[in-house]
Amino acid sequence: MLDRLPREVIAMRVAKELKDGDVVNLGLGIPSLCSQYVSEGKTILYHSESGVLNYGPMAEQGEEDDDLINASGQFLEPTPGMSFFHSADAFGMIRGGHIDVTVLGALQVSKKGDLSNWMLPSRGIGNVGGAMDLAVGAKRVIVAMEHKGRDGEPKVVSECSFPLTSPTCVSLIVTDIAVISVEQEGLILRETAPGWGLEDVQNETEPELIPAKDLKEIGL
């Protein structure tokens, strides 16, 4: 069996997409790991729906302050140049197109870039949180996720069967086996995990993948 990349490596690959000066909002789970892997010399301004811009590392144990959290409820360390704002302004930034990149988890992504990430139909109720705002508002939406669900079902699908977060919003999908970009002509397979070929990835993907001319191994 082929090796799948660990969560940290998915986050590393996503971190490569972040450019100097970008304003970035990281979702729960794998996305939240990305900030650890941004190369030095790049200044990234991290934004959180809790009402903070330019946060840095998490607070050390014993230094936690419940007036200083990110949207995952993690305690932040005070950072030079950090600023605070209320929720209407926090989402004005998102909806107004001031976030360059958001990295989100997903339950399903369709071949058109539709995103489903807020409700399992089996549960019948879910938390929408800020996901719809981010999916619609950020200039670039990157999905970071495992390629298959725990049930073994593909998560890159022809049509989302789960409730949508937003149609046609995802531009890049980074998983534990592949990097796929969403283009007008369809899903372009750009990179694969070491040892994985087009067919291996296709076997775990519902819609047809178009191999990139320069299809290569995932680079970090």
Binding site: D67, L68, I125, V128, A131
Partner: protein, 234 residues
Amino acid sequence: MGKVFSSFDEAVADIFDSAVIMVSGFGGTGGTAQNLIVALRDHGALNLTIISNTAGLASLMGFGTLPGHTAVDCGLLIDNDQVGKLIASYPVSPSPSKVNSFESHFREGKIGLELVPQGTLAERIRAGGAGIPAFFTPTGVGTQLAEGKEVREFDGRRHILETALKADFALIKAHKADTLGNLSYKGTSQNFGAVMVRSSGISIVEVDEIVSPGQIESHLINTPALFVDRLVKI
């Protein structure tokens, strides 16, 4: 113009059954009016509509709560069967295996839910305070949360019409107040409170400290006094 109340109980005494109440806080204890929520539980008003980002994540799972602390949030009012309807973006536990009282009440049909994207929730509350009855937003277009809503294109992009939210009362936590009603918050704890204070008929604010006018410097005031009706010192 005495805005300072001497007890939490007194400050919530006139909250009536079926009132619409905004409750501040992002989900953790920061910015959550824990003492006012306890007072409202003791007061016992029923069939409340609660507008809040979550149904209480701090009390459920320690979200944004300091280690070793026991959190109070609007989950307490739901636990106590005082809530008939919730307007929120994050009403249930993130894990299906952990069921909060909102989710069990919801499945029993005892509580209604209006699920709202978090940014739309914040903007609807802001609109309520700013005299804007409705606005168009791209958030939610093409999803089940847009069902039944008017759709209109602007610049070739679809948007839906969302309406303002107002409340009879708001229960807010701030850091400091002066006796005029000016407020300052700490760090990320202004979140929903700094917006809700504008859109509620009567805003009730618990603070760590109440000082004289001038003791919060002008440039440190986050919420101007005109939005604040009642103050209680913790």
